[in-house]
């Protein structure tokens, strides 16, 4: 048996952020590859399903570059290991992705966004594989977690490493593309779990209602997280202003796109709310606020350090979705020719309401694929 190198999702995240050249041989079937893959400016791909390579890799040897690192990727890891071994025995130095696309989908990379005025810090957790962004604000040994994903250990470990206790957990809205870790973090830490009540009418557990103007404090110097009712992606969608400098927009406003209003089935009803939020409520805020969304869609939205953010005034100048003068034109953008909905989005919403409790493996399957929460 030839030995092949194992590469972790964390190593790949580093390469994506640092733009290291990487050649990926993705051996999943073609439709899975078309749907969703590891992306990055410095990454090149070849997709050949593993079942086409069962008799050997001779047919693709001339398509594998010799001057780049070669990584074989599949859904879990078994097939990529098989193909990587075949390539290695042909003398090509090859690695495989440990845990496959499932692990990639779940990997979180914490990036520091900035210091808070009372000495605290704000972190963004970048889920490169799915384009989800979540946040942790720490201040005086306490922490708030916002829009957390399902793999809650990452936040718990991070808080422990920082020596802080998570006391507040919030979701900007009822998510449709990923399973929220909010409830589990609250259960494990005893933190308060806040949800917008209009998104939570059907939830099967207790929570604290987020209202327009609700102030949430962490640390003894009361670092205020101010909530702002900004409906449109969902009827309850709420934004947070942290420390008067950061604007957490949830799925309402992204760096290069805006939220779609149809994932709860009510595009026509919510399009007016979405316009009101983007064109009036956000306009009234300081343009100096740093926008921190809950998603990104394309790798170009990443800053050099791997974070995703932009000043509000900059977005008013450049974001296509914020620059449609005619209401009719805006309505068409967000209700017509929408991209396909996220995988299993109905089941994900039910899970986030506590109506169904799929096991770990089912949750993982439900989340496979891109987030698709935006229109551009």
């Amino acid at each position: 048996m030839v030995s092949v190198k194992e590469i972790s999702a964390k190593d790949i995240a580093k390469k994506v952020i640092e733009k290291d050249p990487l050649f990926i041989l993705d051996v999943r079937n073609e439709s899975d590859f078309q749907d969703w893959k590891i992306e990055g400016e410095s990454i090149t791909h070849l997709n050949v399903p593993y079942f086409d390579l069962l008799d050997g890799v001779d047919g693709i040897l001339d398509k594998i570059p010799i001057d780049k690192e070669v990584l074989v990727v599949c859904a879990k890891e078994g097939s990529s290991l098989m193909v990587a071994e075949m390539l290695s025995s042909e003398g090509i130095d090859t690695a495989y992705l440990k845990g496959g696309m499932k692990t990639w989908s779940e990997h979180l990379e914490p990036v520091k966004i900035g210091d808070l005025s009372d000495g605290g810090e704000l972190y963004q957790f970048v889920r490169l594989g799915k384009g989800c962004l979540s946040y942790m604000a720490v201040s005086n040994r306490e922490a708030a977690v916002i829009d957390s994903i399902r793999t809650v250990e990452v936040y718990l470990d991070f808080a422990e490493k920082k020596g802080v206790k998570i006391t507040q957990v919030m979701d900007t809205h009822l998510h449709a593309d990923h399973i929220s870790g909010g409830r589990r973090i609250a259960e494990k830490t005893g933190a308060t779990y806040w949800l917008p009540p209009k998104d939570a009418e059907e939830v099967q557990f207790s929570y604290e209602p987020l209202k327009d103007g609700t102030s949430i404090n962490i640390g003894n110097t009361t670092l205020a997280i101010q909530s702002l009712y900004t409906p449109g992606h969902t009827i309850g969608s709420t934004s947070f202003v942290v420390d008067d400098r950061f604007l957490l927009t949830g799925d309402i406003l992204f760096v290069d796109s805006i939220g779609r209003p149809d994932l709860a089935g009510l595009a026509q009803d919510w399009v007016g709310d979405l316009r009101e939020t983007l064109y009036r409520r956000y306009k009234e805020l300081s343009g100096e606020l740093l926008v921190l969304p809950a998603h990104f869609m394309i790798m170009e939205e990443l800053n050099g350090d791997g974070s995703v953010s932009a000043k509000l005034e900059e977005l008013f100048a450049t974001n296509h979705g914020l620059n449609m003068e005619k209401e009719e034109e805006f309505r068409n953008l967000v209700t017509e020719n929408l991209p396909p909905q996220p995988n299993s989005y109905q089941e994900i919403r039910k899970t986030n309401m506590g109506k169904v409790s799929p096991d770990e493996e089912e949750q993982r399957e439900m989340e496979i694929g891109p987030n698709r929460c935006a229109v551009r």
């Binding site: 079937n29 073609e30 439709s31 899975d32 399903p49 593993y50 079942f51 086409d52 069962l54 599949c74 859904a75 879990k76 078994g78 097939s79 098989m82 399957e365």
Partner: protein, 189 residues
Amino acid sequence: MINTDKILDAKGLACPMPIVKTKQIMNELLPGEVLEVQATDKGSTADLKAWTERVGHQYIGTIDEGNSLKHYVRKASKSEEKKETTYKDIVSNDELLEQIQLNNKLVIVDVREEAEYTFNHIPGTLSIPIGELTNRLHELNGEDNIFLVCRTGNRSDLAAQLLVENGFKKVKNVVPGMSAWNGPMESGV
């Protein structure tokens, strides 16, 4: 329970093993035989569909039993791919549909394998896989109008010749058959 020629137990095996084992067993089967693949790997459905399409086998369908999957795959046979048929008395899918809608007295015999029949068939048809036809001729009446159906018209062509050799007079081969059937269908899964 669908009768098949062979069962492969790939439960508990992770990708790529369900496909690797399926490929091995398909090599041992005779053309036209049906394999049941039992698997727990959720990704096996999409991969099996894509793989069979690639190599020319027929993916029949999958039954999801909750904690496991049963896939049905039929080994391709070269003779089925050829378009011409030798039995002359043929009718089109549309003509058969018309006969059904007119409520004319007719007997439709589906000569595909049981697994194929189970996933979809024309309501009211009799299932007699081609391999069993010789032994089951007594189930048919020589006076009836008999319409023979398969997936593409080739197996039913052989069946039609076999019936005529055995003295049946009013036999028609439906071309192309289930691969292009737009009329009513029912499923046993």
